[in-house]
């Protein structure tokens, strides 16, 4: 794993395990009401990254993809709200699944396929974009949107330095 120097905060990983490790680091830094908005193609490793976040939150139970459930809740000291917006048709569906109420309820929210509704995501959030750069290689870019997300991204950058 190495830190790339061109993007604001970007990390290159070379395996699923490394992608999960980056998620783990982020999860360990999370605070109540933090929101991580994940985007990337099918198979890029969004769920793998989310599983890493879950481990970072101390969640030991399996963390499957929420594609069919839309939301899976993993209770913990900081509860993980794991969303998957892939099957939603329109932005109004976000109200129906109570996205906005859930992200403000004191846990940590991870939203897969956040880029399906870019204008409707919560304002203060950390966008995490996973690009497929090779068969096993991924570029993970963090783009903070809002004050708390800036803090989280900065803490991540400090921690990620140690991973290089």
């Amino acid at each position: 794993m190495r830190r790339s120097h061109d993007a604001p905060i970007a990390v290159i990983t070379r395996s699923k395990a490394e992608t999960a490790e980056v998620g783990h680091l982020l999860g360990a830094l999370a605070e109540p009401n933090d929101i991580v908005a994940l985007s990337g193609d099918l198979g890029a490793g969004k769920t793998c990254f989310a599983q890493g976040i879950a481990r970072g939150l101390g969640i030991l139970e399996p963390v499957p993809s929420p594609t069919f459930n839309l939301l899976l809740v993993h209770p913990a000291e900081l509860t993980l709200y794991h969303f998957d917006l892939y099957r939603l048709q329109k932005a109004a569906d976000l109200e129906d699944i109570d996205l906005y109420g859930t992200v403000e309820s004191g846990g940590v929210s991870v939203i897969e396929w956040a880029d399906r509704f870019p204008g409707d995501m919560p304002e203060d959030r950390l966008d995490v974009i996973i690009d497929v750069t090779g068969p096993d290689e991924r570029r993970i870019t963090l783009v903070p949107r809002g004050a708390r997300a800036e803090q989280l991204a900065a803490a991540f950058a400090d921690g990620a330095g140690a991973l290089v």
């Binding site: 129906d96 906005y100 109420g101 004191g106």
Partner: protein, 260 residues
Amino acid sequence: MRLVLALDTATAECAIGLGLWPWDDQGEPVVLGETNVATPRAALTHAIPVIARLLEDCGRRIGDVDAIVAGRGPGSFTGVRIGIATAKGLAQGLGVPLYGVSTLDAVAERLAGREGLIAVIGDAMRKEVYPALFRGCGGTVERLTPDRVAKPAETAAEWAASLDAHVLLAGDGLAKYEAVFTEALGDRAEVARPAMWSPTGASLLQAAWRTGAAAGGGNAAGVLPIYTRLSDAEEAEALHAGRPPGLPHSGVAGPEGERP
């Protein structure tokens, strides 16, 4: 007297009340007991046990209940649904009437002893609020504005420009936006104690009585959630099912402008 069970789970507070209502509007309603517990995002697991315990404490059984009152929101989407669904299930199962009351009316009711303007500001999430104005007079409250969703700063500016009297503020939206309203309203604003920001079992019963809920037919199908931000699933479902007569086009109560 009719034994009435009231519940509201639209806020983080699960409010359950048990009371007696006269059969006609000649007598006065009585509150037998209430339980109000903070159950953020957990109303689903708490509502029924809390109801069972309250009934037991009051020496009543669920089969004795003659009518149900449900807080219709506005509030948390999930919370409103849990409350309405639970109330409908109970009313259907018991074969008793179901009456609805706005959660904001039940909050205003808690300040019924006060004279003058009362502003209830519910948290609508997404940096929005559910603002409603009431007037306290002679121990009761009167609603002045309908349920709606709005930006806190815009509402505060609107009230600062239009209200020229003392305003008592309440509602769980103040947890986030108290300063927005107190700064805009200045000397006119007084903030109620946070303990007065949520509905209670007793205030639900009282607000439902005051708003004439009991005069309605009590048809469970007609008691709708108040979402204000229109819920598409509910709308589609109501249209698909064919809506009962007299209900809004959408099948969901909300501000006129947002109905299709």
